[in-house]
């Protein structure tokens, strides 16, 4: 709790105000949820108190997602941060019959084919968790700190394109936010405009 006070103090001193979105507000406790992963195991956000958690909304057929998976960049990020103890959850909110819908089998196939290094792929086929977080696009990224507070909501990086060549030129907001937060510093840009394909609810 002491740490949380410190973080909030830093945020207040840098004059970043809490930004309210439907359901999930920056600098407030992230809404809890429970979802089943592609192996049939249940995960609740609250299980991961004490760890940083990254939520990545995913639709593997979306060109903005392909931009990061084709050259292996998303897998690289997942490996880097899960090795540091970060929990990385991919959430699939594509409804049945919609683009990017993952059955448990398709999700596990994707893990094998693409070399996905996330902690788990969670299936949110009724879109309940997506709507709870107001997830708009794929990839839409969220970061929750060890105290369970939402510290980042937005785009994966600063160049709104489908071109993989832009990745190196862009600022990766998830990396910036995790780097700052893991060093006990405030996140400079806690909310950015997400870009990508709309979530296929």
């Amino acid at each position: 709790m002491k740490k949380l006070t410190k973080v909030l103090g830093l945020l207040a001193s840098s004059a970043i105000l809490a930004v309210s979105l439907h359901g999930a507000s920056i600098n407030e406790t992230a809404p809890d949820f429970t979802l089943t992963d592609s192996n049939g195991n249940e995960h609740s956000l609250s299980d991961f108190r004490g760890q940083f958690v990254v939520l990545e909304w995913v639709n593997h057929e979306c060109p903005f997602v392909v931009k990061f998976y084709q050259p292996g960049k998303m897998q690289e990020l997942q490996a880097t941060y899960t090795e540091k103890g970060v929990v990385w959850l991919k959430i699939n909110s594509s409804a049945e019959g919609k683009q990017g819908h993952l059955t448990p089998e398709l999700a596990n196939q994707a893990i094998a084919d693409k070399g996905i290094n996330a902690t788990a792929i969670l299936l949110d086929h009724d879109g309940e968790v997506g709507r709870l977080y107001d997830a708009r696009v794929t990839p839409h990224m969220y970061i929750i700190n060890p105290e369970g507070v939402l510290i980042y909501n937005g785009a994966i990086d600063s160049i709104r394109s489908t071109n993989s060549a832009d990745i190196e030129k862009a600022e990766n907001y998830v990396v910036s936010a995790l780097t700052a937060a893991m060093a006990g510093e405030p996140v400079a840009q806690p909310v950015t405009r997400p870009y990508g394909c709309t979530v296929k609810y």
Partner: protein, 287 residues
């Protein structure tokens, strides 16, 4: 330069630059082409170039500010010395709700984005100018597919002082007619104040009639890194009767939520959209 004979002129009007078709699963989603009214540019005289895009039925591309979803069309130019180009000028889009429930500023059917090319007065008549362009866009129905195309324009530098007064290509003429115009220059009187209240940014406007129709919306053009919501419908402070009165004043406000950057935004540029209630024709005025 000799004056072109009528038949040569007619022939010049019929030329067409190469079109590019974006194919997806056996279907053409977008046919894109550069359009000009002429192949001859005049030193020192602006020359209009359009990027014409024809979308398959149900598919759409996006305005400069795409809204809750989407990505704007973008053109990168490869210009030789002596040629400059304006920013992209886009016709008024439509605000539509997509299949996924998100609202976006979109173009359905056809759209022509415009650019003014500025040839230097020092160009030599008879010289050939080669201009390259790379267009990128996102086209969506329910799925979204990125598209891109590269184009080349081969233009001849003509004699000084000879210039066209009207655009012969109907696509250019139509796009010009649908471009939002500077509000200050075209409306009788425009007074705009901005107010910030929490995460809201509120436009307070006073317009003097006659107006080209009823004010129906404000389409914002936020900075690229800002994250704002689509503005609410305009709220009128005075009686709707005054809308019809010549010389009357229409007072209204439009509010928008700014998600990010919290307090960094104190005003927005954008387009006031009017609609003629009978013809349904829409007019845009740039703020």
């Amino acid at each position: 330069m000799k004056h072109l004979s009528f038949s040569a002129w007619a022939f010049a009007c019929l030329f067409a630059w190469t079109a590019h078709a974006q194919e997806y699963r056996g279907k053409t989603l977008v046919e894109a082409q550069l359009v000009t009214s002429d192949q001859t540019i005049v030193p020192g005289k602006p020359f209009l170039v359009g990027l014409h895009m024809a979308m398959a039925e149900g598919w759409h591309t996006y305005w400069t500010f795409s809204g809750e979803a989407g990505l704007p069309t973008n053109v990168e130019w490869d210009l030789p010395e002596g040629i400059q180009i304006s920013p992209m000028l886009s016709p008024l889009p439509e605000l539509k709700t997509e299949a996924t429930g998100f609202r976006a500023y979109s173009y359905f059917g056809e759209v022509t984005h415009l650019f003014y090319l500025y040839p230097s007065p020092d160009l030599t008549p008879g010289q050939t100018i080669t201009i390259g362009a790379k267009a990128d866009w996102l086209v969506c129905e329910e799925p979204c597919i990125p598209g891109s195309a590269e184009f080349t324009l081969e233009l001849t530098v003509g004699e000084r002082g000879v210039s066209r007064s009207t655009e012969k290509d109907p696509r250019l003429a139509e796009a010009l007619a649908n471009l939002p115009r500077p509000a200050e220059a075209f409306l009788e009187r425009v007074e705009i104040d901005w107010e910030t209240k929490g995460d809201q940014i509120i436009l307070h406007g006073r317009l003097t009639t006659p107006l080209p129709g009823k004010l129906v919306a404000f389409y914002p053009l936020p900075p690229a890194d800002a994250f704002i919501e689509i503005p609410e419908q305009p709220v009128f402070q005075n009686s709707p009767d005054s809308l019809a009165n010549d010389g009357g004043v229409v007072e209204f406000s439009v509010s928008t939520s700014v998600v990010s950057p919290g307090q960094g935004l104190s005003a927005l540029s954008g387009v006031l959209v009017f609609e003629n209630q009978e013809t349904k024709q829409r007019f845009g005025f740039l703020l």
